[in-house]
Amino acid sequence: MAWNTNDLTTATGAPNAVSNPAAYVFDAQGTQHVVYRSADNHIRELWWDAAGWHQGDLSATTGAPAATGDPAGYMLDAQGTQHVVFRGADNHIHELWWDGGGGWHWGDLSAGTGAPNSASNPAGYMFDTQGSQHVVYRSADNHIRELWWNNSGWHHGDLSATTGAPAATGDPAGYMFNAQGTQHVVFRGADNHIHELWWDNAGWHWGDLSAATGAPAAAGNPAGYMFDAQPTQHIVYRGADNHIHELWWNNAGWHHNDLSAATTAPAASGDPAGYVFDAQGTQHVIYRGTDNRVYELWWNASGWHLVDLTTAAGAPAAGDPAAYVFDAQGTQHIFYRGADNHVREFWWSADVTQQTFIRREIWGLEGATTFDPVTLAYAKAIQVMQARPATDPTSWTYQGGIHAAWTVPPPGATWNACEHQSWFFLPWHRMYLYYFERIVRKEVLAAGGPTNWALPYWNYDRAFPGNTIPPAFRAATLPDGTANPLFLASPRRSAALMAGGQVPATATTSTQAMNNTSFSLASAAPSFGGGRVGPAHFGGALGDLESTPHNVMHPTIGGPTIGQCAGGMMTDPACAALDPIFWLHHANIDRLWNRWLALGGGRANPTQAAWLNQSFVFRDENGASVTLTGAEVVNSAAQLGYVYDDAPTPDAVALSAVSMSDDTPTPSPEPGPPEMVTGTEEPLVLAGNTQSVTLTTPPGPPSDAVSDAATDDNKRLFVTVDDITADQDPGLAYAVYVSGPSGERHHVGNVSLFGIEAMNDPNRRHNGAPGFQHVFDITDAVNRLRNAGTFDPSQVTVTFEPIRILPPPGEQLPADAQDVGAVPPVRIGRVALHVQ
C-alpha cells in the first residue's frame, strides 16, 4: 500500500482533539487545512504549506466564543477566502474566515442574520455557479436552515419550510454539482430516510431519495460529493445494518448500491466521508469500522474495492474521518481523531517516490513463506532486467558493469567505476544502491507489485538461520514455475552456503568497525570508512567496515573464482554485482553506516570538501545519466527517502565491546607515525590451513616500547600484514587472531583478497601496487591479554585461520558441499608489530 501515516498532533505540538476533524484545501494559497475543537472549546487549526505542518488557535486569534460539536471548513474560490464554521456553546452558528489582507476574522452568522439557534453541527460549501457560499444546519424545530452569502452579505433561509421537507435529525451535509449547476443539501429524516433538498434556477426542491431508490434505513449522517467527470453525484451513509450505502445519481436518476455488500467490508460505525480524486479518476468513501479501524472503499473503472488503511501502521480511530484531495501535489488525505485524541492523517501519493521507503530484513520478510511479496517482486523485476541488452542502462548487465566487468563496456558507458579502499567506498555504494533500487521499483510497480517496495537487506550477523543464505536464494524456481534469478548454483556461489551452511561470526561481525569513532584519518591507521585518497577503483586505504564484514562476505558467499564469472561470482568484483545477493549485502553495509552514525560518541561523516563535493555518475530508472555528491547522500531518510526497519538506537552489544577498561579514547591527533618494532623474517604462504607466526621483540628498548604502549592509554599497537599477494582470490578470507605465549586468542580482524584481480591487472584503474596491506589495531586485544595475565611484550603470536562455512547446527553438509580442503595460495610478505 502506498498510504503513509502521520501524527499531526505530535508533529505540530498542537493540543489534543475532542471533536471530529474537518479538512479542506485552500487553492488560493496552495495550503491544506484541518480544523477541530480542543478540550478548551477553542477551534484549532492544523495547516500545511511548503514548510510543513503548523498549528494555530483560531478562537484565541479572533476572540471567538466557546465552541461545541464538530467544526466544518471550506474555501470560497470566488473570493480567495477560507471559512470555518462551528456551533457555539450559545447555539449560534459562528464563522471564522480568513482573507489575504487581514488574516482571521470572526463573525456571528446567527446574530447577523437573525437565524434561529442550531441543534446540529453546521456544514459549509461553496457554490461556483453563483459565486456564493452556504452553511446549512438543523434548527431546534428540526428544520434544515441555510445561511448563505453573496455580494450583498449573509442571508438566512428555511429550506424545510420552503420545500415542505419532513423533520430532520442529525447533521446535514451540502455540496455543489457543477455539471448541472445545482447545489444539494442532504439530511437524515426523523423517518430514517435520506432526504435531499436541491436548488436549480427554479429554486429549492425536496426529494425522498430512500423512497425513490428503496434504499435501507439510515442510522447516521449522510455525506455527499460530486463526480464531475462522469458526471454523477453521490451520497453515502451508514445504514441501520451498519453497511455503507450509496445513493448515486446519473442522467437516468437516483440509484442505490450497498457498498459494504459489494466489497464484503467490515461493519461501520459513525458517519462516512466521501471525495473524488479527479487526477486518478477514482472516488473514495472512508469510514470507521466497529473495530475502530479506518476503512476505504474506492472505485475505479473496475468497480468498488476495499482497503484497510489501519494496517498501514495507523493508530485506532475514535471518531469519524474527513478527507480531501490535494490536487497541487496529486495526493489524497484522510484525517481522524485517534483513540489517543491525536489528530492523525493517512496520505497517499500518486508519485510513490514521495513516501519514505523502508528497507526490510530479508529473514523478517521471508518468515513463513519463501517468496513473500517483496522478495518475489525483486525476483520478477530481475527477470525483466536480465532480458534487456547490455546497452540498455537499466539492464542487469549494465548495472552490474557499473561496478566492474570483464566485458567491454558499451560506448559511452561509465563502467568499472566502483570505489573501494578509500573513504568513497560508503557514499559510492549508497548511490549505486539508490539508483538500482529505483530501477527495480519501476519494474515492480509496472508488474503490479507492492507500491512501497524497497530493497531488502541481509543481516547475517545473527544466530542460525539468520546467518544462512535466505531460502528464496536457494530455490531453483519461482512459484510461477519460471527459473528463479535469485538462485545461483555452485560453483557460481559457495556450495556449502547453497547447501544451507552458516557463515561464522568472525566473518559477519561489525564490532571492530562500530568501535572506531573516526570515519577517516589522514594516516594509514584503521578508520571506519577508509583513508583519504582520491577516487580510485582500489585506493589502498581500507576502512574497517569495508574490511569486515564487507570484504569477508564477498569471497565467503562466492567461493573460489573460475575464469571470468563462471565461478565465485561474489568473490570477483567484476562479477559480484551480477549476483542478486550483492544488493542485499550492500544494503546491510549501508544500514551499518546509519547505525554507526546513530551511536554518537563523536562519530560523524567527513566534513572535508574533497569528500563532500566528489561526484559520481550513475543511470536512473529512465536510463538517464545522473550525478550525486557525498553531500547529497549523508542522510538517507531526508535526502534519499529511505530508512531501515531497525530503529537506529545505540547497539548495546557494540557499546559494551568498546573496551574492557573504561572508554577507549578516540585517537587524538596522531603525534607521529607508527614505529615498527619487529616483524617476521620470512614470507608466509596460506593455502586454506591455519598458521601462526610469533613476533619476537628483542629485549631492551624495542621490548620496552611494546610494554610501554600496552600500558599507556594514549598509545596504540598495530599489527600490519604486508605485501599480501596472490594470483587469484582463494574464495575465502582468513581471520586474524592475536595471543600471548599461552591462553586465549583474540580476533582482531580479517584478511580478504577481495579485489586482487584488479590489483593485479595493469589495465584497471587503481592506486598503488599489486597486492594489499592490512593494518589491525590490536590495542583492545592486548588489553584483554594483559587483564588475563597472558601478555608478553616480547612474544606476540599472530594466527591466520581460514573462515569456513559451517554446517547447520547438529547436521552435516553433503560431501560435495563441505567447505574444506586446499585453496589457491596467498603469500604474505611480512607480519609486523607497530607502536604509536
Binding site: S523, P673, G679, D723, D761, P762, N763, N767, A832
Partner: protein
Amino acid sequence: MQVAIGRPGELRTALRWRPEWPLALLTILAWVLLIAWALWPDGHAGTHAGHGMTVHAGHSYGTAFAAWSVMSAAMMLPLALPAVRFVAFNSVKARRNRAIAVYVVSYLAVWLAFGAIALATERGLTSAVGNERHLVLAVVLITASLWQISSGKRRALLNCHATVPLPPFGLRADVASARFGALHGWRCLRSCWALMLVMVVMGHAGIVALGAMVTIALLLMLEELGEDGTNVLFPSAAILSLAAGLAASGVLLA
C-alpha cells in the same frame, strides 16, 4: 599531509611523517648541479646544444658518465620517494637511516649501470652514423612513443609500484633493502628505459637538453607518482611523436 607548523615540536612531527625529506633535498641539489652543468658545460657559457655525451664532442667518457650520474640522481630519485617512505616506515628506528641509504645506493646503481652501457653503445653508434645523429634521436623518440602505449609499459608501470617485505633485523634486513633498491630500479628501468635512452642521445649540455630533461622528469613523475598514472600514457606518446618529427627535421640537434 597538511600540518600547520607553529612550534619546533610540530615541525619535527611533520618531518617524522615525511621521512623522505633528506632525499628530496638531495634531489634538489642534483637539479641545481644539473642546470649549472647544462648552461655552463665546459666552465664557460656556451650554446652547444645537443652535442651529446660522446667523446668526439669534446667530452670525455668520464665527464659524460659523471653528468649521467648527476642526471640519474636528479630525475630518478623523485620516483623513489614513495619507496623511501616505505623503507622508512617499515624499518625499525635503529636501522632506518642505514636501510634508506642501502636502498638508495642500490637503486641508483641500476641506473648507473644502464648509463654506462648505454653511453658506450651510443659512442660506438655515433662513430658509425656521424652526421645522421638527428635521425638516431628521431628513432629513439618514436620508439619511446610506441613503448608508452604498449601493454608492456602498463604492466611495467604496475610492477614499478611493487614492494619487497623487509625483515626487521640483521644482515637479512640489509640484504632486503639492497634487494628492494635493485628490484625497484630494475622494474622502473623496464618502465622508463625508452625515455632515458632519449636523454642518452640528447646529452646534458645546452638549453634544449635541459628542456628535455625537465619535460621527461615531469612526465615520469606524473606516471609513477600520480594517482592514475595510466592517464598520462596516450598524451605523452603524442608529445613524443611530435618531438620525433622535430628531431627528424634537424631542429632538436644542431
